[in-house]
Symmetry: C2
Subunit: 134 residues, 2 copies
Amino acid sequence: MMELTRKGEYAIRGIVYLAAQPDDKVCLLSDIAAAVDVPATFLAKIFQQFSKIGLVKSYRGTGGGFLLGRLPENITLLEVVEAVEGPIIPNRCVVGAGECTRDLSCTVHPVWKRVQEQVRNVLEGVTLKDLAGE
Amino acid sequence: MMELTRKGEYAIRGIVYLAAQPDDKVCLLSDIAAAVDVPATFLAKIFQQFSKIGLVKSYRGTGGGFLLGRLPENITLLEVVEAVEGPIIPNRCVVGAGECTRDLSCTVHPVWKRVQEQVRNVLEGVTLKDLAGE
DNA sequence: CCCTAACAAGACATTTTTTATCCTTTTAGG
DNA sequence: CCTAAAAGGATAAAAAATGTCTTGTTAGGG
Ligand code: SF4
Ligand code: SF4
């Protein structure tokens, strides 16, 4: 259980690659895809999602491509993952009140809250700078 | 991401209900299913899995039914979840070496290891006794 | 011995999610 | 204009989740 999808894995590979490039280097999607071994059309969709929320900046036309939207040290793995996979939700009752009619008295509910918190903490503690290495 | 499936949720509800019953009470599947609001045929499959690994004991025929295989304080939530959902695997590379050809030098790999460990710790720290309440 | 109660096991069906691919549109440079 | 490149939308195949159904097995009781 709790498995990251391909999409998530690809997303991370792609943006970490971007983070490892020189700051101002505009990268072609096709190059990124080849480098991290991901289908280019699929990666395109992923980067569109990144672009919409500003995780990456994109430029169209000749000389276009992608670069990071912020400094690598200011982008956490949590943001990246949630951008493409949605929020970290170990069980639907952690979304909010009323998702499960049992949540008020449920003894399991707090456990999922803790799981959510722990996972978020780990992912939030890692930035793209950490992942891109030196 | 990381969402528990219905199966997992149902499994927990079912076995927690069982843990909340008097120690020697043999429970009918149909009663459990009704009590925790789960399709009986689906819950049957789940309890069959429990039964195979000894989490619950089952008796057939008239007067048959289910009861816990061990004391509630000796069954962790981790066991219950893994019994029906499989191992906690945030990313396939945590399964073992060779699952991903990149795992040797991958900077993300250790992060998933940490996530796995944290989640397991939380779930392992909760027993059915805790969940069944007084 | 037979009948009924209850779980076990396996096959089957439906829906949803994942994992893409393709085609058209928009934007920008030269 | 012509070409490069990303954006957006439609579509499709494969896999997983979510059940259901039928048949088999085990046990108790008359
Ligand atoms: S853990 Fe409790 S509150 Fe959450 S979905 Fe399950 S029953 Fe509902
Ligand atoms: S995190 Fe690294 S080792 Fe794990 S699957 Fe992704 S690339 Fe492979």
